[in-house]
Subunit: 127 residues, 2 copies
């Protein structure tokens, strides 16, 4: 139930930017790993590389992401955010902070801290 609420609120806050959780992930990863290759990005977000193609096509058409053929290995594309893409990420991060604030308001600071700590403990347990 917490999860459903979380996604509903996330989507409400970011839907007008046309950013899904998956796209937000792509933006974050490309911001922090400029020049990443498609196969490596696919691996990072847990998608098959073929599934990434239409997603990148969309983002490229939106002028958010650019593919640049590698000069070292002409089979690979180096990906990076455009200026517009960086700007979109900044706005998306602002919205995500609003989304997180709205969620955290129901918990005290120490409850929030504790929740995150417990979830991280769970996430680390790769059973």
């Amino acid at each position: 139930m917490a999860q459903v609420m979380f996604f509903r609120d996330f989507n409400r806050e970011l839907s007008d930017l046309e950013i899904t959780p998956a796209i937000f992930g792509v933006l974050e990863i490309l911001h922090q790993n400029k020049g990443l290759t498609q196969t490596r990005l696919a691996l990072a977000i847990g998608l098959d590389r073929s599934s990434l193609v239409p997603l990148l096509d969309k983002l490229q058409k939106r002028k958010v992401v650019e593919r640049e053929v590698s000069t070292k290995d002409r089979r690979s594309n180096h990906l990076h955010l455009t200026a517009e893409g960086e700007q979109l990420l900044v706005e998306a991060e602002r919205r995500v902070r609003l989304h997180e604030k709205r969620i955290q308001v129901r918990l005290t600071k120490s409850e929030t801290r504790h929740l995150i700590q417990l979830l991280m403990k769970l996430a680390k347990s790769n059973v």
Copy 2:
């Protein structure tokens, strides 16, 4: 990340029963609300009533669920689990307990209790 881990583990434990989280929800709800109508079940699990039809078709073919035309309102179907369905639910619940145990083992009893309490607090905040 906690969520991804949770779903992966759930699916690993229940995949050979061919039970998805959605199906588990249907079984639980029908067990506790015998004779529920399709529209009401759809509402309960947050699906459109048209989306429920193929799911019920599958479960009916598996002899897990039965549709019974209402004698009071012949437009409606009353749904209930077959004996086989009840048995499947019992086994599924056993598996879910294993799944939950495996997850909880990384937390102490009081941490588990606290986590559930915090998530419920979040879930209630229908922002």
